[in-house]
C-alpha cells in the first residue's frame, strides 16, 4: 500500500493541464463486511483460512452441533458459530456468525501487550501479531473483548487472524472473502462497506420485516475493521459471544497508561528520599562516638 501511495504522480514534464489523478483521496481504512443474513454456514471460509495460512490439521471436539469446534484455536482463526435461539415471542432463529479477529480501531490486545513490537496496527486498520516479539504472557487474551487471541502451549506464543495482511499487502482480498459462495462476505474500504451495509440494512428492515436489523461496528472500541450486518442488532449477544458494548479492562488502559508510570516514580522517590536523608541528617552512628577534636577551621561540630 505504501509503495502505491508514495509513487503517486505529482508533477509531469511538458504536460498540459492538471496532472492526471491529482487531488485523489485514497481511502486507507480497510473493512471486511459480514452479512450474517446471507451466511449459509458452509464453512468454506474456515477451509480457506486454514489452507492459506498453512495450518496443521488437528483433531477437534464434536459437540452435537454443526459447529466445527467449540471455539477458535491458535491454528484455527476463523470459525462459524451456530446458535439456535428461541426468542421471547416464541419464534426460533438459527443464527450463523463467522467469528474471527475484529481488528478493532482501539485494540485491547495491543493495549494490554507489554512486549515491544509484538502487536502492531497498520494504518489500514489491520491488527497483526509479530510472533517473533511475543513473550507469551497472554495479557492480550485478557485484554481482548472478543476472546480472539489463542495461546499455543508448545511454542508459548499467541496467534490470531491477520486479516490476511500478507495478501492485502499485495492488493489481494483475504482468503475467506475469496471463498465465500453466497456473497455474504465483502471486502473494501471502511466507507464503502458501511454504505453497502446501510443499504442492506434498509432493505432488510423494509422488505424482509426485520425491524431490528442493523450494523455491528461497536463505538466503545472506536469501531472495528470487521463489520457485521445482524438480523437483530439490538441483541448481538445471541450470536454467540458478540458483546453489545465491548470494552478494554481499565487495568490495561487507566492503570497501564497512568498509574504504572506514576507508581514507578512514587517508588523511586524512596531512593531520592534516602539520598536526601543521608545528605541532611547523615548516618546514624553507634554511640558513643569519639569526640571531634578539630575540623579544618578548628571549629567543633555536631558529633554523632
Amino acid at each position: 500500500m505504501s509503495d502505491r501511495k508514495t509513487l503517486q504522480v505529482q508533477r509531469i514534464s511538458g504536460h498540459p493541464g492538471p496532472v492526471a489523478g491529482a487531488g485523489t483521496q485514497r481511502q486507507e481504512k480497510l473493512c471486511k463486511l459480514i452479512d450474517t443474513t446471507t451466511c449459509i454456514g458452509c464453512k468454506a471460509c474456515e477451509v480457506a483460512c486454514v489452507e492459506w495460512n498453512d495450518m496443521p490439521f488437528q483433531p477437534t471436539l464434536f459437540d452435537n452441533t454443526y459447529q466445527t469446534m467449540p471455539d477458535t484455536n491458535w491454528n484455527y482463526w476463523n470459525l462459524i458459530k451456530f446458535n439456535e435461539v428461541s426468542n421471547d415471542d416464541g419464534s426460533f432463529q438459527w443464527l450463523m456468525r463467522k467469528h474471527q479477529c475484529m481488528h478493532c480501531a482501539d485494540p485491547g490486545c495491543l493495549a494490554a501487550c507489554p512486549a515491544d513490537g509484538a502487536i502492531v496496527q497498520y494504518s489500514n486498520g489491520i491488527v497483526d501479531f509479530e510472533e517473533a516479539n511475543c513473550i507469551g504472557c497472554q495479557f492480550c487474551v485478557s485484554g481482548c473483548p472478543f476472546n480472539v487471541p489463542k495461546f499455543n502451549p508448545s511454542t508459548k506464543k499467541v496467534y490470531k487472524c491477520t486479516l490476511c495482511s500478507d495478501r492485502v499487502g499485495q492488493g489481494l482480498e483475504p482468503a475467506c472473502i475469496k471463498s465465500c459462495p453466497t456473497g455474504c462476505l465483502h471486502f473494501g474500504t471502511k466507507e464503502d462497506m458501511l454504505q453497502l451495509a446501510s443499504t442492506r440494512v434498509t432493505q432488510l428492515q423494509q422488505h424482509s420485516g426485520m425491524k431490528e436489523a442493523g450494523i455491528y461496528d461497536p463505538e466503545t472500541i472506536g469501531g472495528t475493521s470487521v463489520v457485521y450486518i445482524l438480523h437483530d442488532a439490538s441483541n448481538p449477544e445471541k450470536y454467540g459471544g458478540l458483546p453489545k458494548n465491548p470494552r478494554i479492562p481499565i487495568a490495561f488502559t487507566l492503570w497501564k497508561n497512568w498509574f504504572k508510570p506514576i507508581g514507578l516514580i512514587a517508588s523511586v522517590m524512596a531512593f531520592a528520599g534516602v539520598i536526601l536523608h543521608y545528605v541532611t541528617e547523615g548516618p546514624r552512628r553507634v554511640q558513643p562516638q569519639p569526640p571531634v577534636r578539630e575540623i579544618d577551621g578548628g571549629e567543633a561540630r555536631k558529633e554523632n
Binding site: I135, K260, R284, P288
Partner: protein, 253 residues
C-alpha cells in the same frame, strides 16, 4: 523460639548452622545465626532476579535492557514466576524463623508514633523498649508477608489465564504491580539503613555479629536481654572511657 512451625525447619536449620560458622569476637554479640543469614541471601537473590525480570515486563519502554539479561523477553516471562516462587519459598522459611521476634507489641505502636524522632536522630540511642527488631523492621516484614501472599495468589492467576478468565487476570495484574511497587520502595530504604544509613549493621547479615555499642544504640532492650546490663549505663561507661560528656552536658544542635 521453639514454636511448632520451627519444628519443620529444625533439620535444615541445624545443618546450615553446622557448616556456616559464626565467630563472635570479644565486644560483639551474635545477631543472626548462619541459617537466618543463608535464608536472607537466598531470598535476596531471588528478589532481585524477580525484580529485574518483573520490571522488564512491567514497563518495557524504560526497562527493555533488563530482559536480555535473562535471554530475551519470552524467557524472562517464563523464568519470572519461578524466581517469584523461589523468593516466596525462602522468605516463607524466614517468616517461620522470625515469627516470634517479629510479633507486634504495644512498644511498637509507641515507636511508630515517634517515627519522626527516629528519622531525625533526635535521641542518641533508641528508646529502652526497642527489642530485637524495631517497629519499622516489623512493619517491613509484615508488609512482605502480606505482599508475598498477594504475589502468589495473583501470580498464579496471571500464570494460568486460561483457567481463571480474563477479568480475574486484569485485576490480579494490578494487585501484582502494586505489591511490586511497594517492595521496590522498601528495598531502597532497606539497603540504605543496612549500609550507609546505620553503619555497623551490614555485618549482622554477613558475619552474623554486631558490636555491643551497635546493640545498645539501636536495640537497647535486646542488648539488656542478652547481656543483662543496662544499655544506658553501658553507654555512659563507654562515654567516660572516651571522655565524651553525657547527654545533658552536650550542646544540642
Amino acid at each position: 523460639m521453639a514454636t511448632p512451625a520451627n519444628r519443620i525447619t529444625r533439620g535444615p536449620d541445624h545443618f546450615i548452622n553446622r557448616i556456616g560458622l559464626t565467630v563472635v569476637y570479644v565486644g560483639e554479640l551474635l545477631r543472626h545465626r548462619a541459617y537466618t543469614r543463608f535464608l536472607h541471601w537466598a531470598y535476596g537473590i531471588f528478589f532481585f532476579l524477580a525484580l529485574l525480570s518483573g520490571f522488564g515486563i512491567y514497563m518495557p519502554w524504560i526497562f527493555r535492557w533488563f530482559t536480555p539479561l535473562f535471554g530475551g523477553g519470552a524467557i524472562t516471562r517464563m523464568l519470572h514466576p519461578w524466581f517469584g516462587l523461589g523468593f516466596v519459598f525462602f522468605f516463607g522459611l524466614q517468616a517461620l524463623n522470625w515469627l516470634v521476634p517479629m510479633s507486634w507489641g504495644p512498644g511498637d505502636s509507641r515507636w511508630m508514633k515517634r517515627l519522626g524522632s527516629y528519622v531525625t536522630h533526635r535521641d542518641s540511642i533508641e528508646p529502652p523498649d526497642v527489642g530485637f527488631f524495631n517497629a519499622g523492621q516489623k512493619a517491613m516484614f509484615w508488609e512482605i508477608v502480606v505482599g508475598s501472599v498477594a504475589y502468589v495468589i495473583t501470580g498464579v492467576i496471571i500464570w494460568f489465564p486460561e483457567i481463571f478468565g480474563r477479568g480475574l487476570v486484569a485485576v490480579s495484574y494490578v494487585i501484582h504491580d502494586i505489591s511490586a511497587l511497594i517492595m521496590l520502595a522498601g528495598i531502597f530504604i532497606h539497603i540504605y539503613l543496612s549500609t550507609i544509613g546505620e553503619p555497623g549493621t551490614m555485618q549482622a547479615m554477613t558475619r552474623g555479629t554486631v558490636s555491643e555499642a551497635w546493640a545498645w544504640t539501636h536495640h537497647p532492650a535486646w542488648y539488656k536481654e542478652v547481656t543483662g546490663r543496662d544499655p544506658q549505663q553501658a553507654l555512659e561507661e563507654a562515654r567516660q572511657k572516651l571522655s565524651v560528656p553525657p547527654d545533658e552536658a552536650r550542646p544540642r544542635q
